[in-house]
Amino acid sequence: MSDAAARAPVRLRPRSAGISGLAAALGYLIPSLAVFTVFVFYPLVKNVQLSLYETSPLGGLGLFVGAGNYVQLLGDPAFLDSLRVTFVFALYTVPAGILLGLPLALLANRRIRAIIVFRTAYSFTIAVSIAAAALIWEWLLDPNVGVLNYLLGLVHGPKIGWLTDPRWALPAVAATTVWKDLGFNVVVLLAALQGVPDELMEAARIDGAGPWRIFRSVVVPAISPALFFVGVAGTIGVLQSFGQVNILTQGGPVGATNVIVYSIYRNAFFNFRFGLAAAQAMLLFILVLILTGLQFTVFERFVTYQ
């Protein structure tokens, strides 16, 4: 018993632990894998397939058109315009979200009594759904009874149809989005600020740096990963905006707020052009992948990690 039994397990372990380990692990992984297979991996493949076909109104595969749907999209002024709208929307939303979120996070990082009250208040919009946010803002933006036009009226400003004027609809939807996302930005930036070592700022202060200099040369570089994360995650989130558009403008007026996900929704579930909508979704996917890739590669070099 002594010799063989002592050596055998050692020699056999890699293989037998491998097989039995895999079997045991699968027992724990199968629930997740089953859900992912049915609702993530299969639909991903199915979506690629749909995007290569003409589809029946019920979503059945018709004629194989290869890249046809993609070619049609990239030559379609309406789709290109929806891409343009989406980018402008991101340009309105993401920088504004950071410019408003950073000062709030800086203030929320002060060490004063009851700071938790302020932190909660500044990040409160996390608790609000996009549907509720959109409805509240629809009311604030109402041309007749809305607060915004009331305030404009006090300074004898014009009465603006925020959601019906093609010039104002996209900025108005963007304002709603900025407000809704503000809580998230504050939370992420505040967490980053809390990670900036006091010694770093102390050293800068001893060297005679003023508040602005400390902010620019110490704080911003130290939290640059978080700033970058908010920028990229914010852009990805904005590219996927739907609820606020569906509630506030339904893509209008005259396509002024027809962001890409709204356009996918219309094509698939109103025009029943599932193949075309699937191709649109693939193009959105590629955009998101590029942004994610950017996050992992290019900017890693420019962003300061500790």
Binding site: L22, F39, L106, S129, I136, G210
Partner: protein, 295 residues
């Protein structure tokens, strides 16, 4: 994360205070205090004003100039909202959906995270990567096929359609695994020596120890499911199966309905998440910053 609400001594944020003379420091600090209050009210204004308006009488709602604070508190908008739309039913639907998704994610994520932490098997790295890859796939890409799947299963207008696609999450698996990795390895070694089975170790040791991580995942899962919009909009057409977010549209779409009534509806559907947010602020923060910030 640890500095979230640690009771630090009262003092100034280093970024804002140079060596100033005491009186000047006080003035600047008071100014910043006031600024913080003003900004807090500004951020919360849409919500506070909505809540205030939901308590106004119809006469006061139409008053010009508008009043900020209602003169008499009137619950009429709430009873009217409940009569206009079956909000109680919407709330029940959302509780069932969010509850099922939360429980499902806790179970599937705990099991998967346990396998990734405690079991050595060939392909572990690859499978973990496969899990994480699901985070990079935007929901829009799977939207149309998932709608077709649910439809072909005959699940349209049912709870399974609302919950099933969200019963597993790579985010939750990642979050729990990060926590499991902090549990001392000696516990596992001791359990193995004592002949404790994996299942028992998970149930008796890991789950109780990882309660904070479970709380984070639970709050995050409930909040995000409660606030879903696009998916419920697609798979639910019948009035009585609507979730709260989709149900709100009923209040808005009726021409005769006043904004104050809509605001009452909003207060009712936002209240659960507000309570959850206030009670679990730390968990919400931890959930949102997991993977966002290093350290």
């Amino acid at each position: 994360m640890s500095g979230q609400d640690s009771p630090r001594p009262r003092g100034r944020s280093p970024a804002f205070s140079k060596a100033r003379r005491p009186w000047k420091r006080t003035v600047v600090d008071r100014g910043l205090d006031a600024l913080m209050i003003v900004l807090g009210l500004a951020v919360l204004f849409p919500l506070l004003y909505a809540a205030a308006t939901s308590l106004k009488t119809p006469a006061e709602v139409n008053r010009y100039p508008p009043t900020l604070v209602p003169r008499v508190l009137d619950l009429g908008n709430y009873t009217a909202a409940l009569e206009t739309a079956p909000i109680a039913r919407f709330l029940l639907n959302s509780v069932i959906q969010s509850g099922a998704v939360t429980v499902g994610q806790l179970v599937t994520s705990a099991l998967a995270a346990f396998a990734f932490t405690y079991i050595e098997f060939p392909g572990r790295g690859a499978l973990f990567f496969l899990f994480l890859s699901t985070l990079m796939i935007p929901a829009e890409v799977t939207l149309i096929p998932n709608y077709m799947t649910v439809r072909s299963l005959g699940w349209l207008n049912t709870y399974p359609a609302l919950a099933a696609p969200f019963l597993a999450t790579a985010f939750g698996t990642f979050l729990l695994r990060q926590f499991f990795l902090t549990i001392p390895r000696e516990l596992w070694d001791a359990a193995v020596i004592d002949g404790c089975s994996r299942r028992r170790f998970l149930a008796a040791i890991v789950v109780p120890l990882a309660r904070p991580a479970f709380a984070t995942l639970a709050i995050y899962a409930f909040l995000s499911t409660w606030n879903q919009y696009l998916w419920p909009l697609l798979v639910i057409n019948s009035q009585e199966m609507r979730t709260v977010q989709i149900g709100l549209a009923i209040l808005q779409s009726q021409e005769s309905v006043s904004w104050s009534l809509v605001m009452a509806g909003i207060v009712m559907i936002v209240a659960p998440t507000v309570f959850l947010f206030l009670a679990g602020y730390r968990h919400v923060v931890r959930g949102l910053t997991a993977g966002a910030v290093k350290g």
